[in-house]
């Protein structure tokens, strides 16, 4: 739209033809507007800018969201213990979740989350020599799915319940209805929804420093090339378009 509107200026930049008024001021102002219009309109299609934009904002959101979940988990461990390694609820280095930067369309981008596999041993009494890893701990507990445990490396299951050692019959499995407890189901999803549908994500975007980066770079890109500052009766649209591209590339980096 902006490019279309600016194309009308090309005639005024080209000096006098036929009955048109020959006026250097009109040509210069037109060239100035033409240059600005091209810088602004090409900005959103600049891949380097898009990538810088999303990276800067995503990194801040990722940091703030992680800290938010850590704090919630410390305050309500029964609800969010499942998205951390065993016994490390609310600890940044033990997180079992990640935010992921998804597909990008112009300056819009999607953020999703995923759960990481647990790598630590399930806590057990020291009298048991064999230790186990509950790899999909976070996703199974979040979904509130029941879990069937079968003997794999030995003929029967042996475990502790309420301080008693239980010996299961040979080959028998055990079903745990709510492996993370009833409080953990969907709690990460709820916290995620709260962060992204409320004011917290907006604060995060503001904090990202995107505005400062944008303003600094935009001011640099919009600074007029010296030829437009000179009084002339004719300006070449091709040259100005090239200058706008070069200026954007210099301000935000990369090829247009």
């Amino acid at each position: 739209m902006l490019i279309q509107a600016a194309s009308g200026l090309e005639r005024l930049m080209g000096g006098s033809k036929g009955n048109s008024l020959k006026d250097s001021t009109v040509a210069q102002i037109s060239a100035y507007l033409y240059y600005n219009a091209h810088v602004i309109s090409r900005l959103t299609t600049n891949k380097q800018f898009q990538s810088k934009f999303s990276e800067l904002i995503f990194n801040q959101i990722d940091k703030d969201f992680g800290q938010y979940i850590d704090s919630l988990a410390r305050t309500r461990p029964k609800s969010l213990h499942h998205v951390y390694e065993w016994g490390k609820t609310g600890n940044k280095s033990a997180r079992l979740f990640d935010l992921n930067l998804g597909s990008q369309d112009g300056l819009s981008f999607k953020i999703s989350y995923s759960f990481k596999p647990s790598v630590s041993f399930v806590p057990a009494s020291s009298k048991f020599t064999r230790r186990h890893v509950f790899t999909n701990k976070a996703s199974i507990m979040e979904e509130g799915r029941s879990l069937t445990i079968s003997p794999k490396h030995s003929e029967r299951l042996v475990f502790e319940a309420d301080g008693e050692t239980v010996f299961m019959p040979i080959g028998k499995s055990v079903t745990v209805k709510r492996p993370g407890g009833t409080a953990s189901r969907n709690q990460f999803s709820l916290a995620h929804g709260r962060f992204f549908s409320g004011q917290l994500v907006n604060n995060s975007i503001k904090k990202s420093g995107f505005q400062q980066m944008f303003n600094r770079s935009m001011a640099k890109a919009l600074s007029l090339p010296s030829n437009i500052k000179k009084v002339q009766y004719s300006f070449s649209p091709n040259i100005i378009r090239g200058q706008a591209d070069a200026s954007l590339a210099a301000a935000f980096g990369g090829v247009l």
């Binding site: 800290q67 938010y68 704090s71 919630l72 305050t75 309500r76 461990p77 709260r194 604060n203 904090k207």
Partner: protein
């Protein structure tokens, strides 16, 4: 002279909040008398102390708080912190009362900060610039404490420590 590094903005804010909650009769401090300690306990507890306070605070309205994050930006004189307060009570309306008070007190940015700065109990080593409510959750049954309701209030606080000419804490 060495600065007192034990001072913390969150503790200052907690002192202010407790004073306001008492003054406005939202909390009655007599309900929090501890025979063991022979003193009143402030029912605004850091999350790290929450498990040991569970028995004492059983059935009583209280607040658990935790620091979400802390950062200094380009302007290193100003610190930005986010603090999560979780209000617990067995009475739904009591939670709403505390939450509404906190919203009313802390939503006004520099005006809210001015109230804290004017309070005589505040350490003279702090100056608050802005406090606002970053998020409020609805009141819902607590998954952590059986029989309790809970609601969260997240405050974003900007403040400075009073500094010497070299920019070090006083």
């Amino acid at each position: 002279m060495t600065a007192n590094y034990k001072l913390d903005s969150m503790i200052e804010l907690r002192k202010f909040l407790w004073n306001e909650l008492k003054t406005r009769n939202i909390f009655d401090e007599e309900n929090y008398w501890s025979d063991n300690l022979d003193e009143n306990i402030i029912p605004i507890v850091p999350v790290q102390q929450s498990p040991e306070m569970n028995q004492f605070l059983s059935g009583k309205k209280h607040i658990v708080y935790d620091k979400i994050g802390i950062s200094y930006e380009d302007n290193w004189a100003i610190c930005c912190e986010q603090i999560l307060f979780t209000i617990y009570s067995t009475d739904f309306s009591e939670i709403n009362e505390v939450r509404n008070f906190m919203t009313d007190q802390f939503r006004r940015m520099d005006e809210s900060a001015r109230d804290v700065n004017k309070w005589s109990g505040l350490s003279d080593k702090f100056k608050f610039h802005s406090i606002f409510v970053a998020d409020i959750s609805p009141t819902a049954p607590s998954e952590e404490l059986q029989g309790f309701f809970a609601a969260d209030v997240i405050l974003e606080v900007k403040y400075s420590r009073i500094m010497d000419q070299a920019g070090r804490f006083l």
